[in-house]
């Protein structure tokens, strides 16, 4: 052998390469994340590492495998949970209001053979699923009133979407794991502006009502205080109304003619007649 190599270095290098290629293509390694369909002359032969629900990782037939080089071909198909996004699209509710809905679905290829036959590649599958997802979301959500669209999870609407999507997807060997609404937006323009406007008016109304409540409370507090004060006065002054009259008159004179301490009252001239009670001693009572 060595002598052959020495004699024909180039030929032996080519031969070595060829042997390597044979070895490499006879023993493919199937990673944990892929399913492999082995196709012999275009006819599917075996499926490696096929997904089975509930099977723990590491127990499927991933790992080293074999095939006939040049005859068998491997088609790799993802085994993981994959995502398909739906671009934001308008949905019309039963009460004729429009909402922009952004959804996504997660799916898994459970029948790689069927998927290979129907869609051939994962990209094809994704675009096919996208179309189905769009129409299913629009169909199911279009049967709901606007209020239900805001949280479709609550009424189980999303479960309905998932079920009907699953029926469609099963034809491609796909199982839908989950469908969710990512975003719900009001369409730009009039609906959005009118939502803003209604928020604004609601706030202004709230502000007015808060002010009115404040005023009301303030008035109540004042009236209660007045009532209390009046009660206090009545309880005290009611003991002798006649004396109260006199007492209050005295206070009032002082207040009027003398004024507050430190303040000069307006100049006043008092004209008294001698008959005045104050001056009754002026003329001498004994007479």
């Amino acid at each position: 052998m060595t002598s052959f190599v020495r004699a024909h270095p180039i030929v032996s290098a080519v031969l070595g390469l060829f042997v390597l290629y044979l070895v490499a293509s006879s023993f493919p390694i199937v990673p944990e994340t892929k399913q492999a369909v082995i196709v012999r002359f275009g006819k599917p032969e075996r499926i490696l590492n096929r997904y089975q629900a509930g099977r723990p990782i590491g127990t499927a037939s991933a790992g080293l495998s074999y095939k006939i080089p040049g005859v068998d071909r491997i088609v790799w198909i993802d085994k993981r949970v994959l995502a398909v996004d739906m671009q934001s699209q308008p949905v019309l509710s039963t009460d004729q209001r429009r909402l922009m809905v952004d959804a996504f679905a997660r799916y898994r290829i459970v029948d790689p053979l069927l998927m290979y036959i129907r869609s051939n590649t994962e990209e094809n599958l994704r675009s096919q699923l996208q179309v189905i997802l769009r129409s299913e979301v629009r169909n199911e959500l279009g049967r709901q009133p606007f209020a239900a669209l805001l949280s479709p999870e609550r009424q189980g609407v999303m479960d309905d979407v998932r079920k009907s999507l699953n029926v469609q997807a099963a034809k491609f060997g796909v199982e839908i794991v989950d469908v969710r609404i990512k975003k719900t937006d009001l369409p730009d323009g009039t609906p959005l502006q009118s939502a803003f406007e209604s928020m604004r008016t609601a706030r202004l109304q709230e502000a007015r009502s808060i002010r009115a409540q404040g005023m009301k409370q303030a008035q109540i507090i004042q009236a209660e205080a007045d009532a209390n004060a009046s009660h206090t006065y009545a309880a005290s002054f009611g003991k002798d109304p006649d004396f109260y009259d006199f007492y209050r008159a005295m206070q009032s004179y002082r207040q009027t003619f003398i004024g507050e301490p430190g303040k000069q009252p307006a100049p006043t001239t008092v004209v008294l007649s001698p008959q005045n009670d104050y001056l009754k001693e002026f003329t001498g009572r004994s007479r």
């Binding site: 070895v23 990782i57 993802d78 993981r80 805001l150 989950d178 609404i181």
Partner: protein
């Protein structure tokens, strides 16, 4: 698969080296083996380098050897060099095998071992031994480190519809870590993106069930907890191996367009508060005054009751005294004069007196 074939070819190359008398035969085989084995592994690099530098060598070697044979008639000078080269290759390969079978996993990590691509077991923290590289591969996954995803842009608006059909501008962060590294690696095609989408979806669905006031105000904590629950349920449904540690709402504001109206509400609240404060202070004042007046009256009345007539007269005189001492007095004796009293003149005199003083 390439790796495996490379491995086999390399082994054969080594044996050929050992058996064959000529190093050159080994180096002949070597490039071809590295040709098949350079699939991006750590030993692919040296192999490739060697290939590039030594590809022309076989023919060159041949040429030198032949010329040596022709001129000196012996192949001896080539042999020691070749065997050193062979031994070097063996040492390198052995070192490589040793290094790729030993793994140190730091405390926050787990090492997921795959044997020919198939999940085998998970290495805990510390020192782990596996089969060497092409057979076993170890992916180190950080399981303790909390990762954060920020959602709902803080710069631009991200409006969500609330249950009462208002809009709210919300920004939040999701903290998560890996709880099952093998699931995290093998179950989801793009776990990070999935976490984002699930978070957005969960936040949206929770916000759609509360009112604007709740979302902006004191129910934030409850909303966060509900989002965590919803996310965890969905992610577990995917068997993603991800644990959601928490959701933090960083911002929940009304949209810019209606911000003024919201400020108006705040202003109204303050106004209302100030009305009430004023009323309260008025109430305090008026109550205190009433109590003061009443108490004063009561005291005087107590005294008055002891001697009503005298007290009454005394109070009358005292008051009149004080009052009349402060005012100008005119006493008119005869009745009927009053109408002709020149009041303006009286006042002038009074002013004159004041200025004279």
């Amino acid at each position: 698969m390439n790796i495996l074939s490379g491995w086999g070819a390399r082994a054969r190359g080594l044996f050929a080296d050992n058996k064959g008398p000529w190093g050159s035969s080994g180096s002949d085989d070597e490039p071809s083996s590295s040709d098949g084995g350079n699939s991006g592994g750590p030993w692919g690099d040296p192999g490739r380098k060697r290939k590039r530098s030594s590809e022309p060598n076989p023919t060159l070697d041949e040429f030198f050897r032949r010329s040596r044979e022709r001129f000196s008639g012996g192949g001896f000078p080539g042999r020691p060099d070749a065997s050193i080269f062979v031994w070097a290759v063996i040492v390198v390969v052995l070192l490589f095998l040793v290094f790729t079978s030993m793994h140190s996993i730091s405390p926050g990590q787990r090492g997921v071992v795959t044997r020919f691509g198939r999940y085998s077991y998970t290495l805990g923290p510390g020192f782990g031994i596996t089969l060497p590289y092409p057979v076993d591969r170890v992916a180190k996954i950080d399981v303790e480190g909390i990762r954060t995803v920020n959602l709902g842009a803080e710069s631009s608006e991200d409006l969500m519809l609330t249950g009462d059909q208002n809009l709210i501008d919300i920004a939040y962060a999701v903290r998560w870590n890996v709880k099952a590294p093998e699931l995290y690696l093998f179950q989801l095609s793009d776990p990070d993106e999935a976490i984002k989408q699930v978070a957005e979806s969960a936040m949206r669905s929770v916000i759609a069930q509360v009112t604007l006031q709740d979302a902006m105000g004191d129910k934030r904590g409850e909303i966060e907890a509900r989002v965590v629950d919803a996310m965890q349920r969905v992610l577990d449904g995917y068997r993603s191996g991800v644990a959601v540690q928490g959701v933090a709402i960083q911002q929940a504001d009304p949209p810019d367009e209606v911000n003024d109206a919201f400020k108006e509400v705040t202003a109204a609240q303050q106004d209302a508060k100030s009305y009430i404060n004023q009323a309260n202070s008025y109430a305090l004042q008026i109550t205190a005054k009433a109590q003061g007046d009443a108490t004063a009256f009561d005291k005087v009345y107590e005294q008055y009751k002891l001697a009503p007539d005298v007290t009454r007269r005394r109070m009358y005189y005292e008051t009149m005294e004080q009052v009349l001492s402060k005012v100008d007095k005119t006493i008119i004796e005869a009745p009927g004069v009053t109408p002709y009293l020149p009041l303006p003149q009286v006042q002038k005199e009074q002013q004159k007196k004041e200025s004279a003083q």
